[in-house]
Structures are given as C-alpha cells and as structure tokens.
Symmetry: D2
Subunit: 300 residues, 4 copies
C-alpha cells in the first residue's frame, strides 16, 4: 500500500513581500496560521501560488522552515521543490525532508521541452535520494510540459512517487488515471473550476489557494462529497464557482493578495513583474466575494 498522507482540502499560502519586494516571513506565518485555523487538511508552501520560481534558494529555505514551525504538526505539509535543473530540485527536496516536510511536490519545469526519458530520470534521481513521498504535478499552463496519463502512470512505478496532482483542467485525464491505476490511485485536483467534477471522478483531494479567501465553502464541498450528497455538493459548488474561475484566470498570487485586502487582512506586496489587480478587477472580486457570502451585500 502506497504512502498517501493527504486528503481533502490542501491549502496553498501566497508568499507575501514587503515594500522592497523582500519576503515577509512574519506575515507569511500569519497567513499559514489562518489556513490551519480555518480547517485546511494540509498546507502546501512554495507552490505556484507561493511564486516558487521567483524566489532565491535562501528564500525557499526560509519559507520551508517557517511553515514547519508555524504548522507544528497540526496538519501534514507538502513542500514544492520544483526547479529547472535536477541538481537544484534534489537539493531542495533534501532540505524539505530534513526540515520535516510530510511530502514534496514536483512539477517537471521546462524551458527546453523534456523527453519522457528525461522526465522519468529527473523524478527517479530525486526519489532515490529522499524517503518521504513525492506528488507528481502536471500543469502544462505553468510548467510548460503536458505529461500524458501514460507517463504519469510510469512515474507512479517509482516507489515513493505516490500521488498525482492534475491541473490540466481536463476531467478525462482523471478518468484515465482512475481506470488505469485502480481505485487506490491517489490523484488530486489542482484545477479549481473542476473541483466538483474531480471529486465526482474520485479525486482524493483538492489542491487550492481558495481557502485563503473562502475556506468554509471549500470545506463544505469536500464534506458533501464525503457524505455522498451530490445535490448538496452541487449547490455548494455553484456558490463558489465564479470565484474559483476568477482567481485562476487573473492569477492566484494577485487575486489572493487582493482578496485578503478586501477582507481586511494584510496580503503584503507582489514581486515584480507581477502587479496588483486593476481597480475594475478589484471591484469584480468584491462582487464575487459577496456571491460567496464571505462579504456582506452592503460592503463597499
């Protein structure tokens, strides 16, 4: 039986910066605390939401350690360690393991399109040098590579690659994984607007930045699924779907920061070239948060 230490709603914190665009660790810890307190069933720092590729090695290490300290064992922690080179990926995977991470997530980042052999070797090299489980992450929109279901199946043959995160937005990929790999395969949905369809297809969990803004609705969806109550899941999903689409479409770091500010929370600054939402986008987000009942209709 494979080691799959996650299920349910896995929350992705943003990485906040100060006025000089340096990482703001105290604020980061505060944002992690909110996610834990609000019921997230896992915490995943250094994901796309956490602008992993825009950070230096030192910043990644600090953020990993800050997460472990703040979470303090209350929920499992999934640390993103993706890097263009195999050497750096391995370095950060070892660091995360030593820091106490429950598992690491690896996206095969690509500048030059990698061959299947290159991808398998990349994962295999990392896997052989660490003992904690690996979540293989497929997200062509950010990573630049689309791993076929057949390739994902191949990666799962590596002993400690035990989880798949699918973010293509194509529910048929999940059907394939489930059919090919059996009911025990642990696939996680990383495409917010597909949350309902993915759970209906059997996803074990939902990797999402949405709990930064609407944790109750996110958790309510998972609970309805666990109770086998499709009607309720549908109702809860349609309440949040427009917000889920918006945060994906406009970019998770930018929209989470803007949403936190609207909700009266500190969200820190972005690192350039990323820029804040425009005023029009901000107003749209206000409306969507009202639709989710997280903001009062009379707000603003």
């Amino acid at each position: 039986m494979k080691n799959v230490p996650f299920e349910g709603v896995i929350a992705y914190p943003i990485t906040p910066f100060d006025e000089k665009e340096n990482v703001n660790i105290p604020l980061f810890k505060q944002l992690v605390e909110r996610l834990v307190v609000n019921g997230s069933q896992g915490i995943a720092p250094l994901g796309s939401t956490g602008v992993l590729p825009y950070l230096t090695d030192e910043e990644k290490e600090e953020l990993t350690e800050a997460t472990m300290q703040q979470v303090a064992g209350r929920v499992p922690v999934l640390v993103g360690v993706s890097n263009l080179t195999t050497e750096r990926t391995l370095y950060h995977a070892k660091f995360a393991e030593k820091a106490g991470a429950t598992a690491v997530m690896i996206l095969p980042m690509s500048y030059w399109k990698l061959t299947e052999e290159e991808i398998v070797k990349h994962y295999d090299t990392v896997a052989r040098h660490i003992s904690i489980p690996i979540m293989a992450y497929n997200n062509p929109a950010t990573g630049g590579i689309d791993m076929s279901p057949a390739l994902l199946k191949r990666l799962l043959e590596i002993p400690n690659v035990t989880m798949i995160k699918e973010s293509t937005g194509d529910v048929q990929r999940m059907h394939y994984l489930r059919k090919e790999l059996g009911e025990e395969v642990a696939f996680f949905n990383g495409s917010n607007p597909l949350a309902l369809a993915a759970f209906a297809a059997g996803a074990k969990g939902w990797c999402t930045a949405a709990p930064n803004l609407i944790p109750e609705l996110n958790l309510a969806l998972y609970e309805a699924i666990q109770k086998n109550d499709l009607a309720e899941a549908q109702k809860v999903f349609y309440k949040q779907v427009n917000l889920l689409k918006f945060i994906v479409q406009k970019g998770l770091p930018r929209t989470v920061k803007a949403g936190l500010n609207i909700l009266g929370e500190e969200g820190g600054q972005l690192r350039s070239p990323l820029q804040p939402l425009s005023e029009v986008e901000n107003q749209e987000l206000v409306s969507l948060l009202k639709e989710c009942d997280i903001l009062s209709p009379s707000f603003g």
Copy 2:
C-alpha cells in the same frame, strides 16, 4: 416556464444502409424498436449518429416518418434538421413538426464560419415558423462552429429555443450555462465521456448513441444520479467509460454498427466514404463490451 419535453437518456439510432448503400427503412425501424424497448427516455433520429449530412432530402423525410410510426408516442422524439442553408433547415423543421416530432435539434452547420448575427438569424428564422421546441446543439468537432456560452444564452431568448445540447467535452461550459441561466435551464450533455461530470454539473439529460449497445449501464447512471447516490453513479460510470471513449474516438456510426454485429444484431452497411472498423478495432470493441458485462468473458 419553458417547454422542455425531454429528460434522462435520449437515444440516437444509426441509419443503416443496404448493400447498395441505400437507406434500409425496415432495419432502421427495428433498431428504433430496440432502443424504445430497452428503456430509452427519448429517441433522436437524424443526428450525427444517424449520418444526417450524408442523406438526401427524401431520405430524411422517410426516416422521420419511420421513427414516428415506430415510436408511436411511447416516448418523445427529437428530430435532427440541421442543414448548411437556412432554407433547407426550415424546410425539414416544418416537415418534422407536421410528422409529429416532439422537438427538433439544430446544429449551426458551418462551411464558412458564421458570425454570431448569422447564427442568431438562422435560429430565429426557423423558430418563427414552427411551434415545437428547438434544442440548440453545440458541437464544434462536427459542426465546425463553437458557440460560446454567451451566444447560447442569446439563443435561449428565442421563445421556442428551450434546450441546449453541449458536446464540446468541456464541463466548464455547463457550469457557465447553469450559473448564467439559473437552475431551470435545460442543458443536455452530448459528450459521452463526460456523462458523469455533466450529470454532476446538473445536466437534465444525456444525448447518446450508447444505448444501441449498453442501455442498462446508461440508464443505471441516470438512476443513480436521480437517487443522489454519487458513489453508485461513479461505480456505474467507470464500468462504461472506456466504451464511451472508444465509440466517440472511432466514430459513432462505425462503432455502433460494429457493436451491433458483435452482439449478434443486424447493423446494416455504412455509406461511403465511411468504412467498417478494422479487425484490430473490432477486437478492441469486443474487449470493451466484455468490460461492460454485455458480452460474456468467454465470447470469441
């Protein structure tokens, strides 16, 4: 309240031909009878499955009349009347209405990409001259036009356009329709591999050729949804998903004919250029029918 005379599993018969590639009406009636007897909640002749665009005007009229006679009011009938020109579309819509069809289905067929205005005018012209409801059908893969959710919304403002059939294979289109148009909007799923995701998203029915081969499984999925039993729906769906993918991928008329033959039924001939499945494809279909428990494991 809009007039929506369909729900559940709407079955699409193939159009069988004889050795000279002429339409075989007696065999067609026999195939329609099987669909009704096996529990389909609607019959839809002259769809893509029925190779509508490969038929002459006279053949379309004969097939419409044959369906009405054979179904004889047991279930509602949805007649496909799509044509490249507005004049011919209207002609066949009127014919279907006079023959007693419950509703007509119209795909905006395209050779020259139509503008939104041209599409609206096309539907509007037909709608003004008939009294029965129209199902607007979006299927870019066969029709050559991808109608945006916003355009579909516009079409629904025409009084007797009361139903949408979505076959893009993108479940997010259904989310949009449901969100924009409210819970009463009647959208039907026309993408077989999305059957579970579409019902989870609130689809009112499933337009499918699959009941020609596996009616019990198709109906069982709809029943599980009606009972709000997602776990059962998931189980039933995964049993049939590989067959559903195969018939779409290899083409419905070709695979339904081949499947009927495997099941010991007459399926008639195809009209050229369409050709029978290869022997390898045929064997694959045998395996998939076994996976669906419709063929005994010892078959062949």
Copy 3:
C-alpha cells in the same frame, strides 16, 4: 511526367444569387468574364468562394456548364466537386469531365472525421472513374480534416491525383511537400496571406478569390516571382497583404460581394445563413481597397 495543367493565378468566382436566393447564372457568367479578361491564368468555379456546399446538385451542374461556355477554352478550368459522400463526389466529377473541365478539385469534406484509409479510398474511387487530373485540397478550416503531408504524399501516388492545394496557412507544409516529393511536385497555395511565402517556397500557383477585386496586384506578384525579383515581389505583396487578410478573415463570398459593390460592380445576393458585411466592415474594406490603389483616395 504528371499532367499539371495549371500555373500562376487561378481565380475563384463567387456564386451570386438573386433576391429570392436562387442562383443568378447571367451574373455569374459576367463575373467569370471579368476574371478571364483581367488576366487570370485559370478559373475555378464551385470552390469555397463559390459556396459549393450550399448548392443543390442541379445548381452545381448549371454553374459548371455556365463556366465552360463563358471561358470557352481561353484558360483552363478547375471545377470543385467535393461532397460528403463518395457517390455524389464521383457523380459531379464525371459531370465536370463530360462538360469539358480541365481538372477537378476535391476536398475530403468531413462530418465524421475520416480515417486515412477512408480518405485514400474516397480519392481512389473517384480517380479510377475519370481521366482528367485531380487537385487534392487540404483545408481543415472549412473541410474539417487536416491531411498530413504524409497523407498528401500517399494521395499523389494515385495516377491522376497530380496537384495539391494547401490552405492550412502553414508554410512548413509546403517545405515538406517540396522536400519529400521533389521539385516537380505541383503544389498550389490556397492561403491568401501566405502568397509571398508560398511562392518563395516554390508554389506553382495561387488559388485565390482576390482577382475578383485586385487582379493587377495578384498578377504582379506572380510576375515578380517569375522574374526572380524578390524585392519587387515583397513590395507588391505588402501592398495587398492587408486586403488578403481581410477577405479571408471575414469570409470570401461576403467580402468579394461587398468589394464588387464598392467597385461599382454587381455582386448579387448571398444565400442564408450568410449575411452581408456590417457597415463598419464595409468601411474597412473601402480603406483596404484604397491601400491597394484600386479605389481612389478620395472615394466615399
């Protein structure tokens, strides 16, 4: 040596309709005459420009005969005979041959995506029953099938398939054809905005509706190429490129009709669902015709 009876600028007439949307044969002949008189090196009725798929069998026959009468041997004639069924394609190919056509053009029209075997059989069946050459036409945007260069190569092995018309808009397809098939292969460009790139790549001719509006510029491009004068070809091409893009983008039948009207010529009516250009589009076309020096700067 293969029989390739075309080269240079092959002009596509529109099919004009009267107020009742019936084909207007006298006006059609007048439009064909303009094309011949203006120097076109071939005439191609019943193409996409001529709205072939929107016509009845009888109309196609009338238009074929009208073209032969009007051209009267002054230039070669290429008749479009594409149809969804093999039987109808063969019927019209035979009709064109009997009427005196120099060659026929066949697009593998598709509703159900055809397999490679089905496409080869389709061409082969027609080719075995006629003696005149066939131009195989690849245009996924209208025909719905994208024939790979490898498939086109296979079609050229059929003795009287002697010409390829490429309309994918990808100049690399032409490179492939030329490399794989040698310098003698006769490939024709059907993508107007690629006219210069295609001639530079070695295209033998240009299949285009543009001579309905700007014959001098079209011919000047071909002449510069024949004189090996790239600098001149570039100059002439950039003069017309924006018009070429516009007529493709807005649809050839609609833009040619509008352009004829602007130039003071009769263009007839369109057949629904096709509708005239909007007023804004019309003004844009006026500007583009001025840019081509075919309209005086003071027009309008």
Copy 4:
C-alpha cells in the same frame, strides 16, 4: 533613426558543461571562436541555446565576460538577460552593459502569465536603467507568453527597444510587424525552419544555433537574399531545411552538442535533466549533416 547594431546571421553558442555538470569556460570560448571564424555576423551568448535559465547568476556573469574577451570586438555581441523577476533581469542587463555587450535580448519569461501592463512595465524598467539597445524576444514555446504584434508594437515605443525577434513560427506575425511599423522596423527571425519565408518577408537577420554545425549554408542563404536572388535562396534553403527542422524539434542544446561530436569537435556535457540524443536520433543527425554536404556521404 533607431540604433540597430545587428543584421544577417547571429549565431548562438551552446553552454558546454564538464563531467560534473559545471560550466566549461575554456571550451565555451573555443566554441565562440569557431562561430566568429566561420563568418557569423553576430554572437549571442545566454540564449535558449545557451540554456540561460538553467544557470546561476555567477555562471551567467562568467559566460558574458568570456564572450566579450573572446569576440574582442570582431562582431557585435547580443547577451541574453531574461529572468522571471524584473530585479534579476535588470541586474544582468546592467552587468552585460558594463561588460561591453552591444545589446541585450529579453524574453518575458513567465510562470504566471503576465498581463500586457506587466510586460510593458518589465521592459520599461530595464530600458530606463541601461543605454544599450534591447531586442524584445517573442517565443511562446519556451517563454510561456505569446506577445501579440500589437504588444510588440507598443514595446517598440520604448526608446531603446529597437529590435524584435519573432520565434512563433508564424510568418504572418512578420507581415504584421512590417506593415504596422514600416520598412525600417528591425525584426529578426528566430524560427529556423522559417528562415527563407522570414527573409522573403523582410527580416533583417536570422538568430540561429545552426552556424555551430552548418555555417556556410546559413550564410549562403543570407547572401542570396542580399543579391535579390530568390531562386538561389530557395535552393540553398531546401538543402538545409531538414536539418533546421531537426535541431528545433529535438532541442538546440542537445542537437548542437551531438552534431559537434559527429563533426569531430568537442561539445561538452549537458546539464540534467537534459540528456544526450538517443542512438537513433544521432544516426538521423548524421544523415542530415550528409544532406547538408558537411559530412561526406561515406561517413560512418
């Protein structure tokens, strides 16, 4: 008049590594020397070919300085300084300027898709802090963003953004740039298989890794264009097109290294996850080099 210090064939060296995957500076200098001696009209280190994004800041600085020393003013040098963050892009742009680079090339690298405003601000920030010209580089396949011609036009309004490199592989982008921006706009082609089409469209130069393997053929193409001899350009282009396609398809760093080895030159190692060509791919490259007359037909 804008400052455009490049034209003709701009050659991209690979970055060679030693057995421990550390940068091999002496071998790099040797490879740069070959490119200069073989007639390249510009040298561009730290491009995609030079695996820029796989390098540390220190390595980038060493490679920049090594290039300047080796080239020693014989031809202009274009240094790649692209980075995900604005801060690091600016840092390397300043370093390149100080080191004596003629110009810098900037690809708007993206993990989170950038808005147009973010892209403009990114370029503008860098441009305001350096005095040498900038080449804006559009390559969605590696950079993850497709800058529209309209956006490129906007970037050209920044005073020292004076050159565009287009690598989308769509010759129509070049038509647009030339039409919109006039004959003086300096656009460079970065898509090897489009070399002929791009020069025919008016490209001022060709940014390419091919001179590492077939410098004579690359230069011969440019010379034919300068002599306005399209027939010769076509002949020379078709001789090399299959090699050009291959090196793009299999990845420039991997194929250049393999090709150098086949030609008896040192090419160093790759940095993981990039791996050498397979034996089959290597044999294919041997055939292609023979086709280019750079290897004798009896080789191997």
